[in-house]
Symmetry: C2
Subunit: 140 residues, 2 copies
Amino acid sequence: MAQDRPYSALIDRLKTAGLRPTRQRLALAKVLFCQGNRHLTAEQLHAEAAMERVPVSLATVYNALHRFTGAGLLREVVVEPGRSYFDTNVDDHHHFFHEASGRLEDIPGDRLGLKGVPDAPPGTRVARVDVIIRLSQDEN
Amino acid sequence: MAQDRPYSALIDRLKTAGLRPTRQRLALAKVLFCQGNRHLTAEQLHAEAAMERVPVSLATVYNALHRFTGAGLLREVVVEPGRSYFDTNVDDHHHFFHEASGRLEDIPGDRLGLKGVPDAPPGTRVARVDVIIRLSQDEN
DNA sequence: CAATATATTAGAATGATTCTAATGTATTGT
DNA sequence: ACAATACATTAGAATCATTCTAATATATTG
Ligand SMILES: [Mn+2]
Ligand SMILES: [Mn+2]
Ligand SMILES: [Zn+2]
Ligand SMILES: [Zn+2]
């Protein structure tokens, strides 16, 4: 998976999405897309980019996350008030939310089925269906 | 449903929940529980209480909402970053979220079935399952 | 290499929520 | 009814995630 010129694939990915491949976006894309599926907050991504020795401003992190999301490279997941996760898995899937740790865990889309989803009310269409299974510590 | 001494039922409800029936809590409970099922933000509840001519501080609104939630009289629903709804329907049910208006609409729990819900990972238990069907404007 | 469009940034601003610590009120026991 | 006590309310400050502003820098195009 890791290549000799590890950036050329990422550059293409950004270009294809209509995004200029800037130094900052490449560093963020590397953190996001080269370590398997991840669920990250803006702050976490900002911290990881800093550790990669590419200091990116927090404003740029937010800009990039929103542009990546608009381009379909990411998906935003809201599970707690005042905190957004960005999900590198854009396939149809659902989530466990570990309340104790604040961690999200994927549930593949085909493992969980919905029966009897009502029709969208007139004038609307279903943009997305989110299923969140909230887990708390088992006190036994 | 509306009684001559409309507060006595609410007072009992608060007492049973282990909450002191103060003037402020009664006013908030009246707005919350005497108009059918509702999905309200703290700000909305604050505004409605003010219109009922019971000026309640915003801090008290938050305190009350959290205590009511802890007592099982309310349920908190998170659909958008930076905004919490409090739901007076504490039965098992799910939601349409109208992205255009920010409105939540109930889906009765028995109308929508989940198939193949995975077991909770070891050491955890399912605290709740939230299904949110996000609706956007149908552009036709 | 210029001209242009787009991106980055520091820092201020915003908006929801929480905190602090002073004051007020409900409850309990007598 | 009356203290004594526990708990609730409040204004205002503080916090935290996020967004905005407007100046500067960089990528793209011709
Ligand atoms: Mn965070
Ligand atoms: Mn609001
Ligand atoms: Zn995911
Ligand atoms: Zn509801």
